[in-house]
């Protein structure tokens, strides 16, 4: 049974959930960790809060499972619900000091993947911490597309469906996010050259 579940597609698992709600555990098991980090990266929530948000997410997944259609990937759909639920939670809780968010390991990956190209120039931990602070200070609309593109490795089509914005808008948010990051990094002297 375990092997069959692992081999099953998301769409097959969705059909199984419709037959028996207990089968939702297979989908939760598959996506929990990915979504957990997604919530943490785009928000300031603690691990515990993120887990609570994920519970809400999967309750919504179950309630709305009939509205899922095959033209989406299930992963896109579940990321969309997670994003919306996280944003609702952020609004509900108001603004809090950002204690977590994008961590240094993720930051290196974003810098490398985005072609921002300063990762080679940031030599010490102190500067990396500065860069992390800058990235976490970016408005959510920029940070979320950067996370989706460079950490979750989503395509533009998937990102468009997750953030519910046209492809062109997603692309310009990404470019603008990178530009703001670079500008702030330059101002704070994170470049070795110049």
């Amino acid at each position: 049974m375990k092997i069959e579940i692992d081999k099953s597609s998301d769409e097959d698992l969705v059909k199984m959930v419709l037959e028996n709600p207990d089968n939702l555990k297979f989908l939760m098991d598959r996506y929990w960790q990915k979504l957990f980090w997604f919530v943490r990266r785009i928000s300031y929530f603690s691990a515990e809060d993120a887990e609570d948000i994920l519970q809400d997410v999967f309750l919504k997944v179950y309630k709305n499972i009939n509205s899922f259609d095959d033209s989406y990937k299930f992963s896109t759909w579940v990321f969309q619900i997670t994003r919306n639920t996280t944003i609702d939670a952020i609004r509900k809780n108001g603004s809090h000091p950002r204690e977590v968010g994008i961590e240094q390991g993720d930051l290196k990956l974003i810098l490398a993947e985005s072609g921002i190209g300063i990762e080679q120039q940031i030599i010490n931990k102190e500067k990396l911490a500065e860069a992390e602070k800058i990235l976490n200070s970016l408005p959510l609309k920029y940070r979320e597309v950067m996370v989706l593109k460079f950490l979750e490795e989503k395509s533009y089509e998937e990102m468009m469906d997750i953030v519910k914005k046209p492809k062109g808008t997603v692309a310009s948010l990404l470019n603008r996010g990178k530009a703001i990051f670079l500008e702030k990094a330059k101002k704070q002297g994170l470049f070795l050259k110049n």
Binding site: F36, N64, S67, M160
Partner: protein, 246 residues
């Protein structure tokens, strides 16, 4: 461990609260209702636009030649029904919001969407105008709605502005050689002179009681030089009420 507990918690909650998935029928209905709202808003916007067209066509387009662009545009501005324009914009915004709420509505570029909707609204507006669907609405607004809806060249409050800009409308009450006397909406008696250069449209018979529009120039107190004289009936959209002339 926490993850497993949380996952279990979701399943327990589903059972405990007897949560059921929302039916497919309901999901479709929601999507259709947004499509319906989009369609209704676009149709309404087109109808409102077609009412604007009545006003715009009240000044015959061929008078541009005589009035020249500046005056023509000033008059258009005077008769432009801004209240109807606001209704067009509000309906357009509502249609965009409703469309954005449809299943894939968010995928489309905003500028492209606005251009597309405006094209539909303009095209349907002209069709509705051709089908005269806008007439009952205009008549309704004449009788029931506030003054702002009634703006037009034959509105009493705007009569003076139109005369200054070279447009005079009224009923023929006297006629002489190369001149007629007309009574306008505010019961002023105007002498209108015309000559060989004046373009007199075919249907103008200069019978007493005929209602005419004169395009020309104010030459003095209650004295007007005509460049074009048209029968009101020549203006297909004219709404100059006979009763108001008497």
């Amino acid at each position: 461990m926490i993850k497993k507990d949380k996952i279990k918690g979701v399943l327990v909650k589903i059972k405990k609260d007897e949560i059921k998935p929302i039916s497919k029928w309901h999901c479709r209905l929601v999507n259709w209702s947004f499509w319906l709202a989009t369609t209704v808003a676009v149709v309404l916007s087109s109808v409102f636009f077609s009412v604007i067209l009545i006003n715009l066509f009240e000044i015959p387009i061929e008078t541009i030649h005589h009035l020249q662009w500046g005056r023509y545009l000033r008059l258009i501005f005077e008769i432009f029904p801004f209240v109807w324009f606001i209704l067009v914009v509000v309906s357009l915004v509502l249609s965009l919001v409703a469309f954005n709420k449809t299943k894939y509505g968010y995928r489309y570029n905003f500028i492209l969407l606005v251009s597309g909707f405006l094209t539909i609204i303009f095209a349907s507006g002209f069709v509705f105008h051709g089908l005269k669907i806008n007439k009952p609405l205009r008549e309704f607004s004449e009788n029931r709605m506030p003054r702002a809806f009634k703006k037009g060249p034959f509105d009493k409050t705007q009569n003076a502005i139109f005369i200054e800009e070279g447009l005079l409308g009224g009923e023929i009450i006297e006629k002489g050689e190369n001149k007629i006397f007309i009574k306008n909406l505010v019961d002023e008696k105007w002498q209108v002179d015309f000559d060989d250069e004046t373009k007199i449209k075919r249907n103008v018979k200069f019978d007493l009681g005929d209602q005419v529009i004169v395009v020309g120039e104010k030459r003095g107190k209650f004295l007007f030089q005509a460049f074009v004289i048209k029968n009101i009936e020549n203006c297909p959209n004219s709404r100059m009420p006979k009763a108001s002339l008497r």
